[in-house]
């Protein structure tokens, strides 16, 4: 017991003299989380707007009406509109100054009134994905609306077409007045119908299950952030094995009567303390910002500590199997960086393609993340933790045993 305590204290003291390491384990996830939350609008933040350029090559009453519909309040909350010429609009997209450009082609009004098929062109910024998709959705709504309006106001549009043709043939001012009256009346009906785009009279009320909370992006991302700090800490704690080897202390230890098992157990104990030290500040911050149930905090800490021990066991095994310290660092990065990416720490699994999310849930970190996330949102049962608990404990023990074998087989005596 004395050696267990002495060894554990030694490990903690050596961690304590590396404050920058601990700061990185906490700071990197905090920074990543803050940036991503800011980009995605946070938990209750303002919805981001799409910067949409409008190139009206038609310059007609109808094209102007279409632009007015995009600018109305219902869609105006989502769009920032900017009229441009087609050439300058392309240049702006190339510079990344906008998300997309809607080009209303010349002849739009004539074709619309003649019920001829036509296409509005949406040129997107290739370097963006989410905002151009939003622009496509929104302009698609308008296009659908226009198509239905063609059907609903068919007779009025036919009459409008005839009057415009007469005006072009030199008809008198009464023709122009008739066009104005008809256009005004039709437009009024159109704009009256426009709110239906965003406020349909028949709506679907969305409810969550009992006790569940609506999961914002930040809420879905928060457990992954905590897991990111756990992974960084696990890697950092495992690197100490090569340090001890190069210092000669592992070799000296093997010449004493201290059991290797006690040495490794002390590492588990000290790693647990270190992991709690790392998880707690981020956990407290997240629980406060997201207004989570404080009763879940102890389970969150315990579960993530267990995850950290399992990942630390994996990292330690990588360290002792590598032939050199540099190789160990390289192998560790090759294993853990992909785990970070696909395991739900950079992007919530819910935002990934299905096949990738399925794979992510099979990773050690992803496997540990899912029941915790479900619990914090309120959709999970405590029973869901049990099988994962068994798997993680078994995996930790197996990897630790393998590490002990490798230490005895030569890593600790060179």
């Amino acid at each position: 017991m004395t050696f267990l305590i002495a060894s554990g204290l030694k490990n903690l003291q050596r961690i304590a003299v590396q404050p920058w390491s601990v700061a990185i384990w906490i700071g990197v996830p905090l920074l990543v989380g803050s940036l991503l939350s800011a980009v995605m609008g946070g938990s209750d933040g303002e919805t981001p707007k799409v910067h949409l350029l409008i190139a009206d090559d038609d310059g007609s009453f109808l094209s102007g009406t279409l632009i007015d519909m995009l600018a109305r309040e219902e869609l105006g909350d989502l769009l920032i509109l900017e009229p441009v010429a087609t050439v300058s609009g392309r240049a702006m997209l190339d510079e990344g100054a906008a998300s997309a450009m809607l080009v209303i082609p010349s002849g739009f009004q004539t074709a619309y009134l003649a019920s001829e098929p036509q296409a509005l062109r949406l040129v997107v910024n290739p370097l963006q994905q989410i905002f151009p998709e939003m622009a496509e959705e929104l302009t698609g709504l308008i296009a659908d609306f226009g198509s239905y309006a063609q059907l609903a106001f068919g007779p009025e549009l036919d009459t409008m077409g005839e009057l415009i043709s007469d005006a072009e043939d030199g008809a008198g001012p009464e023709t122009a007045a008739a066009i104005g009256t008809l256009a005004s009346g039709t437009a009024t009906k159109l704009f009256r119908a426009l709110p239906l785009l965003t406020e349909a009279p028949i709506e679907i009320a969305v409810e969550t299950t009992d006790g569940a909370r609506e999961a914002s992006f930040t809420m879905l991302f928060f457990p992954g952030l905590l897991m990111m700090s756990v992974i960084l800490a696990a890697q950092g704690l495992a690197e100490d094995l090569w340090q001890e080897r190069e210092m000669g202390t592992l070799r000296r230890l093997r010449s004493t009567i201290a059991p290797l098992g006690t040495f490794l157990l002390a590492r588990v104990v000290s790693s647990s303390f270190a992991l709690v030290l790392v998880i707690l500040p981020l956990g407290l911050l997240g629980f406060t910002v997201l207004d989570l149930d404080w009763g879940s905090l102890p389970l969150t800490l315990a579960w993530l500590t267990l995850a950290g021990l399992m990942l630390s066991a994996l990292a330690s095994l990588i360290q002792v199997l590598a032939p050199t310290r540099k190789a160990a660092a390289l192998f560790s990065s090759l294993v853990f960086f992909p785990l970070l990416l696909v395991g739900g720490s950079f992007f919530p699994l819910e935002s990934m393609p299905d096949f990738l999310a399925t794979f992510g849930r099979l990773t050690p970190n992803g496997m540990m993340l899912e029941p915790l996330k479900a619990h914090l949102i309120g959709t999970g049962e405590l029973a869901a933790f049990v099988p994962i608990l068994g798997i993680s404990v078994a995996a930790t023990l197996a990897m630790t045993a393998a590490t002990a074998w490798r230490l005895r087989a030569g890593f600790a005596t060179r």
Binding site: M1, T2, F3, I5, A6, S7, L9, K10, Q13, R14, V17, M247, G248, T249, R251, R252, L253, R254, S255, T256, I257, A258, T413
Partner: protein, 308 residues
Amino acid sequence: MIEVNALSKQFGSFTAVDDISFTMQPGEVFGLLGPNGAGKSTTIGCISGLIPPSSGQIAISGHDLIRGPRAAKARLGIVPQELAIYEDISVVQNLRYWGAAYGLRGAKLAERVADVLEVIGLVDRGWDKPKDFSGGMKRRLNFGCGIVQEPDVLLLDEPTVGVDPQSRERLFDMVRAQIVRGASVLYTTHHMEEAESLCDRIAIVDKGRKIAEGTLAQLRAQVGERDIITLTGAFGPDLALNDVLPEGVAILQADVDRLTLETEDGPARLARLLDALSKAGAEVRETVVRRPNLESLFLKLTGAELRA
């Protein structure tokens, strides 16, 4: 205290230690003297339990190292050649850790830590971290970590490498203090002067084999009261040395560019020797005369220099 019997260690086809046997008594400093690569560190590695021997027996204070490693290791202390201390925790924390690794606890551990601080002269630096220490101070702590458990047998593997003379003398004083306590000390070195200064008995090893063993006086007697003269120059292949050399001068080794000779009262005979060689057409560029010592014994036994 230590019995090593027919110890051998092979690494693949390479034999690092070849049938080495010796015993050490309590209160004795036993030296393992040999050049780099002679097998000294491998021998220490086997005795400390880090390297499993290929064959042979090792017993420490009556406990077989192979059959009862825990009991044997409990009586062993090691001061490795390279520093093996934690530089980012204090001296006291280092001693506590290594004392606990040997099973010490409670009041006994605290008492030993205090005693070792006195012995190594770091009482007033006990709570400082070795990363701020000089090399000599780190070496002292390295030594202290090996004696905190009051071992019956202390292994020192070339402990003075890179150490200044003052620190080396201090280290020797600490070793002698262990002898006074009744411990046995196995001391490996390739420095003849250290072996002559510190060791009660010495075994000379070369290429994994023990080539001589005894007290300093016994080993010197093997050399006899004869000086070793080493000449460097040009000694043609046709030079009939036996006809050229004066009476009483024996040839230990002869190459076209180097002669190693043995004779009594070397300085007095040197002038006649050089004159004879010059008349025979040899060209002597450098002359070294060694009085009888371990180095000359090593040279006599192996034909090679003790120092690489």
